[in-house]
Amino acid sequence: MSNVTGIGVSVKRKEDKRFLMGRGNYTDDIARPGMTHGYILRSPHAHAKINAIDTTEAEKAPGVVAIFTGKDMAADGVGSVPCGWLITQKDGSPMNEPAHPPLVVDRVRHVGDQVALIVAESLAQAKDAAELIEIDYEEMPATVGVASAATGPLVHDEVAGNLCYDWEIGDAAAVAEAFSKAHHITKIDVTNNRLIPNAMEPRAYIGEFDKGTGEYTLYTTSQNPHVIRLLMGAFVLNIPEHKLRVVAPDVGGGFGSKIFHYAEEAIVTWAAPKVGRPIKWTAERSESFMSDAHGRDHVSHAELALAEDGTFLGFKVETTANMGAYLSTFATSVPTYLYATLLAGVYKTPAIHCNVKSYFTNTVPVDAYRGAGRPEATYLIERIVDKAAREMGLDRVEIRRKNFIPIDAFPYQTPVALQYDSGNYFATLDRAEDMADVAGFPARKAEAAKRGKLRGLGYSTYVEACGIAPSAVVGSLGARAGLFESAVVRVHPTGGVTIFTGSHSHGQGHETTFAQLVSETLGIPLENVEISHGDTNKVPFGMGTYGSRSLAVGGEALMKAMNKVVEKARKIAAHVLETAVEDVDFKDGVFTVAGTDKAMPFAQVALTAYVPHNFPHDQLEPGLEEQAFYDPMNFTYPGGCHICEVEVDPDTGVTQVVGMTAVDDVGNVVNPMIVHGQIHGGLAQGIGQALLEECVYDESGQIVTGSYMDYAMPRADAFPSFKVDNCVTECTHNSLGVKGCGEVGAIGSPPSVINAVLDALLDVGVTDISMPATPAKVWAAIQGAKTAQAAE
């Protein structure tokens, strides 16, 4: 079918006009009748005991409606903000899971911890009143960096050594055996720098209570409203789900940071009936820095055992991960099941073992951020592969090719639990080398040298696991939720279709991509399709959008529901056309009877479904609406090759990315324009991590990078135009053959950038650099290498 709005076409986005005309509907744009404004007073200390809170003066301040502290919530029996993933430790015991009260009671554990809610007629009045609250803090020494967490002051008195869990995966004995046979062992220590997600829309919530119906409503900047409803209703506030509506309207970017159930959601929802009016809370950017879950923050030591010809024999890794002060919703799964299971990468390394220790520190909770665990794994692998090649005098591309999982080895079972269903890492590498004009690199390098610049080329060949996830698998690994997705297809009497999806778009363009699936499948024009998402009172229970799962899981649920619609419509057509169901074909939006000229367009079937004047009611129900839930069989495994080209100014240490090529196999592509846009965004976040971004705490636990003045958010001039293309191997276990494209850019690119920087600095003797490779760091490394060479 040459459907101009169907699968594979770069259809322009349906949602764009409202965003471009200023007609979006973000949470902070919503004003509810009688709405009050909430301000959260936060801890200025990393760690302190609260001896007393005096709100007397503040309560008298103009415009103040009410002030609440942790004591009020505790007295009301409010529960702890829960963690959604239980990790079982090496010794079989459960992880340590200390309580996380939405408003603290007598101790603050990170700068930004929530101390009180001030509700007032205006935000300015709430802030003024907050200034009048007297808090008697008794400062305590803080544990800040993950490296010293084991011996630092206790963040939670009941958690010895600040250890959340000590966990392992893989076969240690097989790895020891491999290492005993190694010709060469390459060792590396890397830090995966702590990042702050920084979706451009700050988090915002409105809590509301309807006295008449007893129903609570929470408007929230969430990637997954049903998950919030479940976690907040069942675990924190004890509100039954049929009395709690959660709405996530237009959401301005998430990148993982809006998956989690945050304390402020529970605080405003809990307080709304107490003040008898809706309460809006919107984060200021400085609050985002100290209260949005941060990302990454791993320190790892890894060793790769190689045979003389460069074949990988074994890989062993020790990682410590920072959980922050409390366990955020999916924090515990990130350095374990989303990280260590990816340590085979694209290589057929036969023996792998990884030990992960996660610690509490007096910092903001750390959780999933675009890629979540897979960027950390990819960075470690791709750095050590480059280092091994260099140490052994092997070509860095050849060593990769030699160890790639062969094309005919799929499905490929890795030694760390995953089974990759499909992939072709040779194809993406070849295409990327071609697009990046690797052949012309020596000439470009020579030309740059004439200008006094050091030019380098860096590779990253990667695979990731997304389309999260088979419920049975994640359930067996400790997930306290299923990870299916849902869809309802409602065909209206006049042939228009509304799709209710459990997926949630916060920039991904579902309103277009999902409509394309409908257009293709039902043969109706795009403008007859509306996608509804984000409201628990409208859409069936769904798990939301993260882990590049919308198309691979949500799209499949939609396909399943549409297939049911087509089957039902076929029965209706058969009845009207007076033929057997088996004889009815459906193509391009028209039902036909084989071998006759009988035909019935989809819209006519729809009308008949709702005007069932002569239906045999024992055989055929009126109406045309179907629902489906889809639970995938496996993760999906996008992979590819990123090649970065940089130019370093040795006098200033400034690194400019001059070329960024990404060839990703994300399976079949529904809308290439949208997919490439997703990849561009991921690349920018990956390059940002490699060169610019880092959340820095000082020794006392204060955030040094607490605003856009200090946290180096990438601007337009940080990047070149990107070269992006796709190669396709289809996912073998979903009907669309799709894999997922949301995170690949951020997963694959950071090591390509650092490998490029190190390639550029090779001639001046620099062999290691950490992320972010800032000008100061690069310059210092160059000076250090010069000094070392002079001393030799």
């Binding site: 986005r13 979006g24 004003a31 970017g253 601007r715 001039d717």
Partner: protein, 162 residues
């Protein structure tokens, strides 16, 4: 409380405001023009860019009272009826937006760029947008959109100061 009057998107408006009220708050809260966004508190993200007397301004960095007597254009005032401004059209055509949060500020900034530089190069566009942060697009398609928007504006004779 002081009173302010200004022209917003061609309409005369006035209201009583707290002296400390920012222009962006006046637009969003008093006039319900919520297309102008707030993405930071240090005047860096550019989500709040509007035009004041024809030039791009960060409306989070200006008090409402400072705009007294001014002519303000917000993203809601860019289209003619349902026909989008050529720069808005270009953003849609080139997929220059994803979540849409930075978008109004980007468009307002880009239109001002074309007013002062009708045919900006890639480097000039990237430099000009230094005060507008986007976390979604990696800027690639925003640059394409601004280039395309500039061409559309030139073709319509709109590239001269708006």
């Amino acid at each position: 409380m002081p009173t302010v009057s200004m022209t917003v998107n061609g309409k005369q408006v006035s209201g009583e405001v707290d002296a400390r009220k920012l222009l962006v708050e006046f637009l969003r809260e008093n006039l319900l023009l919520t297309g102008t966004h707030v993405g930071c508190d240090t005047s860096q993200c550019g989500a709040c860019v509007v035009h004041v007397d024809g030039r791009s301004v960060k409306s989070c960095t200006m008090l409402a009272v400072m705009a007294d007597g001014a002519s303000v254009t917000t993203i809601e005032g860019m289209a003619s009826g349902e026909t989008m401004h050529p720069m808005q059209e270009a953003f849609r055509e080139q997929h220059g937006l994803q979540c849409g949060f930075c978008t109004p500020g980007m468009v307002m900034s880009a239109v001002d760029l074309v007013a002062v530089n009708p045919d900006p190069s890639e480097a000039e566009i990237r430099h000009w947008l230094g005060g507008n942060i986007c976390r979604c697009t990696g800027y690639h398609n925003i640059v394409e959109a601004v280039r395309d928007g500039a061409a559309r504006m030139r073709a319509l004779g709109k590239a001269a100061a708006e």
